[in-house]
Amino acid sequence: MNISPSSACSSYHACSVSRRHALKVGGLGLLGLNFPWLLKAEQIAKAAKIKPRIKSLILLFQWGGPSHIDMFDMKPDAPEEIRGPHKPISSSADGIQVSEHLPKTAKIMDKVTLIRSMHHTMNNHNSAGYYALTGSSPATDDQRLRDSPDLYPTWGSVVDKFAPNDGAMPTFVSYPYVIRDGSITPGQHASFLGKQHDPLFFTQDPNSPNFALPELTLPAGLTYERLQARRELQKIVDAQTRLMETSAETRGFDTYYEKAMAMLGSERLRQAFDLSKEPDVMRDAYGRTTYGQSCLLARRLVEHGAKFVTVYFDDSIGGQSTTDGGWDTHGFNNTKMYPIIEKRHLPITEQTLPTLLNDMDSRGMLQDTLVVWMGEFGRTPKINGNASRDHWPQCYTTLLAGAGVKKGFVYGASDREGRYPAENMVRPDDLAATLYHMFGIDPETEVMDRNDRPLPIAKGKPVTGIYA
């Protein structure tokens, strides 16, 4: 651990000073001057260097950790205690087999890239979830990894900072859960990038008959103009104290007011969230589940200009029930993994994932939108004493489909028993670098953390082998 005084030290110091200067300008921006042009200039400079391969991304996060061996990396030749009771079937892509419980999903394998060599070593949900959602390895494999502004931002927040939308549609939307395992899982927001890059987040259930974002609906009798007038009155009261000037917390709250005003002024935004605009047959096809309707909403949001949409499968790691919860099927409390995934997780996936990809394909959206399906880890190759599987970050599969990636393609491979990557290991760091690169954002772009330390937004290398 020979930390030598870097010769680049003086130059990064200079850089950090100039950034602080920029932030001061930003601070003034809140009081009337305008700041976004600075960001814009930054973006243009970046964009000139790297050609974006995707315009938007939908992340379907499978909290709890789906079993790679029982879905997309079947091991029919392995001993029974490894291969499990399910059989593989062939798919629409040469050489790709998937579980017999995913026949419709099998038909869309010609649209996807599977990375079968995902790897990390975080064995706990919160540390692994944070790693997966940010591409940054936590310092410790801490089961109750504490959320803290020192931690890395999630992917969507990085996109929000370096490739934001124009207009009122938020760049980054996430829903319908806050994922947690005992404590809230870090990696769901902008962290040290600042609250202004947090997602538009909600927990309303898109499957509920009266789903609407009340936030986007002005109450009866309140026109937008009247709201603007109220905001002006509010500023008169705010001018009486020096809170705005002296408290970052206070200024942060006010930036949300700015954002909310812009959103409330947008008709297009309201349309995007209105699922009743979809025909019943389409809603049925996605599945009348929270997850199904969330995926349908994700498609609408991207159509209306969102760049990064995260859908969480469930808020809990679950695995012990056929009616709720995520993929964490250990077989605890006398539950068994297979009856549970056969009844809950696989049917939901089977109904929704192929529907989403086919629907997006028929609308031409897979030309510029990438869909990523992944969990925080896979599950133990060897079936445990409860006829179930435990956590396995050492090797698992991530599915990608749409813009930027090859079709019907497998990148990397696991070993005979799905224990370790046999070739082309991909870490979450690399996946993060890949996605940023696809957005046209240089993965080595440095951001300042809370202590003014320059950190690269991604520490891995883009996996160019999957590029179309």
Partner: protein, 738 residues
């Protein structure tokens, strides 16, 4: 240039150290293990990970030297070590990144680390002889230092003492970890900073660790101590540190801000216009002191502070059921109203048994249903100690071992339940109950310690000898926990009370006491603790001591010297007011009642004992309930204050701008707005009432002018009044505690 000069000095220091190998053979445990720690090799993200890394696993932070020896010397057919050609050992090739190493280069060929490993390998990579001394203590100097700009470099020096009585300078072998990323540590123990700030540096050598506190203070050549008035020992301690750091505290805040702060902190509600006017206009010199005393006797005080315990003790309907929630909450409220000594309060919880309906504190065990949960919760809530890490391995940042963990859990092994009735429908959900239960102590039952594969021997945290098992374990535990030999309990409770008033614990987080998490003001914490114990663990006494201090009454506005300060109480903390406070404040200003699912109209948010009176999945929650969620009222699933969030977000802005809860309150036909209009008040009178009610002050000239104009030009007076009320409750002055 100064940096370079410093580096040369550090290097010279290192070179001047006697090379260990000249005096004695390289020891595996004392030298090689130290190098593995120094290189970061045995850290969690690297080979100390539970799964190792790249097929090489050693114990986390070297807790198991024997395992590590085998891993290095015997695994992989001994390829990691090459005694014939030491330089070809995989261990060295990897560590110097001569061959590809995912962890990069850990040290150079000409480093001390390299030399130690190479010599050890060349000497046969032998385990230590039986008589090798083991480390027994570690001395770090300085333990704390204040550095004045531009001299932002502190050289630490570390000596280890061994079982044979020998001492050794291990400065170059110890590991240095600054808690703040802004500070850097050299391998030789030189800690440098580029910017002012405070940090703890953890110094580690084998199983020894010690924190060092360093403060890097800006020069501020023009600094003049403002000699502020000290109201009590609280201010004297705070001032002593501020002065060292060359910071002046902010001025004492005005009456109306103090009043608002005191009401929010003690009662969770705002003063009425009448109360505010009376206080601000009162000429009484001691009015602040008097106000604090009066507020402590109001029922809202017990309600508001019961909420803090309710968060910690996980008072929620799923485990306790609605009746249990209300009974437990009432018991806490009454305890607070009676100013029951906090030690007695905790003893009653710890020893509680019987029906959860007849004896409300037994609900503590009703929600903590396994020995592990009880043990972790009791440690965190009553001893401010997070034991969780030690469930699977020795705690990496604290002294707790796995044995400590399971022996502590063993104290709670025999609690059992007789479920008299369970009307909860989902049989799969083992955490949900509806109906009466009896908590009792079983005759038998132990917790297994997986490390030794045997039953643990119940033992108090930090004690070496097991308990006397003839007695009731919980009675013994309660006596020890709150007894005179366990000062930690009082310290943690005093710190918690401090946190709730000052916004930040002297030890922070307040439930993470450990040698490696230093208090910002150790002497102050000790004196508060002594005061608290001396007062008979009186909550109301300690609250008065803290609130009567100047530190509590300081303005939130920083001055030129303290703007960057967050830990030294130089100015009051600005934070968004809590969910319940916010909602009740909106109801207070609009004069309209709130509607919660399961409670009568007019119930305040701050009076709600639980979380969801009616299960959310079974019915739509009301707008008011939703409001509380958005503003971070916790679900009470964790026994920690951190579950309650006072951060701000976009959803909250929407709630306050266009949300249904506020809209309903503004539209209420029997509220303040209509009452003022019906009474035919003038614009000035109406503004006055709104301002005093919401902000405990009259409108300023500018506000009066603008808002009077808005009212007088309006055709729809009510609408104009809605706009003004909206503007006031959306102002930062209203939504922030400052």
């Amino acid at each position: 240039m100064t940096m370079t000069a410093r580096w040369i000095t550090a290097l010279l220091l290192v070179l001047c150290l006697p090379l260990p190998a000249e005096e004695r053979p390289v020891s595996f445990r004392n030298d090689v293990m130290a190098v593995l720690a120094k290189g970061g090799c045995n850290s969690g993200p690297c080979h100390g990970n539970a799964n190792g890394k790249a097929g090489f696993k050693i114990s986390l932070r070297g807790e198991d030297p024997e395992y590590d020896y085998n891993s290095l010397v015997r695994d992989m057919f001994g390829r990691r070590i090459n005694t014939a050609t030491p330089g070809e050992s995989l261990l060295l090739l990897k560590a110097t990144a001569t061959v590809a190493h995912e962890g990069g280069k850990r040290f150079d060929h000409d480093s001390l680390e390299y030399e130690i490993l190479k010599k050890w390998i060349a000497a046969g990579a032998e385990p230590d002889p039986e008589n090798t001394p083991t480390v027994t203590e570690m001395q770090v100097t300085p333990r704390s230092r204040v550095l004045l700009e531009p001299d932002f470099a502190a050289q630490l020096s570390v000596t280890a003492g061994f079982s044979d009585g020998s001492k050794r300078d291990i400065t170059r072998l110890a590991v240095y970890e600054p808690a703040s990323l802004a500070m850097k540590a050299s391998p030789g123990g030189l800690i440098t900073a580029e910017n002012p700030g405070e940090t703890t540096v953890m110094v580690r050598y084998l199983n020894q660790h010690q924190p060092v506190h360093l403060a890097f203070v800006p020069a501020r050549p023009d600094f003049k101590w403002s000699s502020p008035r000290a109201n009590s020992y609280v201010d004297r301690h705070i001032d002593a540190k501020l002065r060292t750091l060359r910071m002046n505290p902010s001025a004492v805040t005005g009456d109306h801000q103090f009043l608002r702060r005191a009401y929010l902190d003690l009662l969770g509600v705002l003063p009425t216009a009448g109360e505010a006017r009376a206080f601000v206009l009162s000429p009484d010199k001691k009015k602040r002191q008097r106000l604090i005393r009066e507020l402590l006797d109001r029922p809202e005080f017990a309600e508001h502070w019961a909420t803090k315990w309710a968060d910690l003790l996980r008072i929620e309907e799923k485990a306790l059921d609605r009746k249990g929630v209300e009974l437990f909450h009432r018991w806490i409220r009454e305890s607070i109203a009676d100013n029951k000594p906090v030690d007695q309060f905790v003893r009653e919880i710890i020893t509680a048994r019987g029906s959860t309906y007849q004896n409300p504190p037994a609900n503590f065990y009703r929600s903590a249903r396994t020995p592990i949960t009880r043990a972790e919760t009791a440690a965190q809530v009553f001893l401010g100690t997070r034991l969780q890490c030690a469930q699977c391995h020795n705690h990496p940042f604290d002294k707790w071992t796995q044995d400590d963990y399971y022996d502590w859990a063993g104290l709670f092994a025999r609690i059992d339940y007789k479920v008299l009735e369970n009307r909860y429908r989902d049989g799969l959900d083992k955490h949900a109950f509806e109906g009466e239960q009896i908590v009792f102590t079983a005759m038998k039952g132990e917790v297994k310690n997986p490390r030794i594969g045997k039953d643990s021997s119940p033992r108090f945290l930090g004690r070496t000898e097991p308990i006397d098992d003839d007695q009731d374990r919980l009675q013994e535990l309660a006596a020890w926990l709150t007894g005179p030999e366990n000062r930690l309990f009082a310290r943690v409770q005093a710190n918690r009370i401090w946190y709730h008033l000052m916004g930040r614990g002297i030890v922070d987080p307040i439930d993470d006491f450990r040698a490696t998490n230093l208090p910002s003001h150790p002497e102050l914490l000790e004196e508060l603790t002594a005061d608290f114990v001396g007062s008979g663990y009186s909550l109301k006494h300690l609250v008065q001591v803290i609130m009567n201090s100047r530190a509590y009454q300081t303005s939130a506005l920083p001055n030129d010297t303290n703007a960057d300060d967050v830990i030294n109480y130089s100015h009051a903390q600005v934070r968004r007011i809590d969910a319940e406070e916010m909602l009740d404040a909106l109801s207070h200003v609009t004069g309209a009642p709130l509607e919660f699912d399961g409670y009568p109209e007019g119930f305040r948010a701050g009076q709600i004992p639980g979380v969801h009176a009616v299960a959310i999945r079974r019915s739509q929650i009301t707008d008011a309930d939703k409001f509380l969620q958005v503003f971070g009222k916790p679900e009470r699933l964790l026994a920690t204050e951190e579950e309650r969030s006072c951060t701000t977000n976009l959803g909250q802005a929407f709630q306050l701008m266009t949300g249904p809860a506020l809209t309903e309150l503004l539209n209420n036909k029997n509220g303040r707005l209509d009452r003022m209009l019906a009474a035919g008040k003038t614009s000035g009178e109406m503004l006055d009432e709104l301002y005093w009610t919401a902000l405990a002050r009259p409108p300023s000239i500018a506000e009066n002018a603008a808002f009077s104009r808005h009212l007088e030009q309006a055709i729809d007076k009510r609408a104009a009044l809605e706009d003004i009320t909206w503007a006031i409750v959306n102002s930062k002055e209203f939504v922030m505690r400052h």
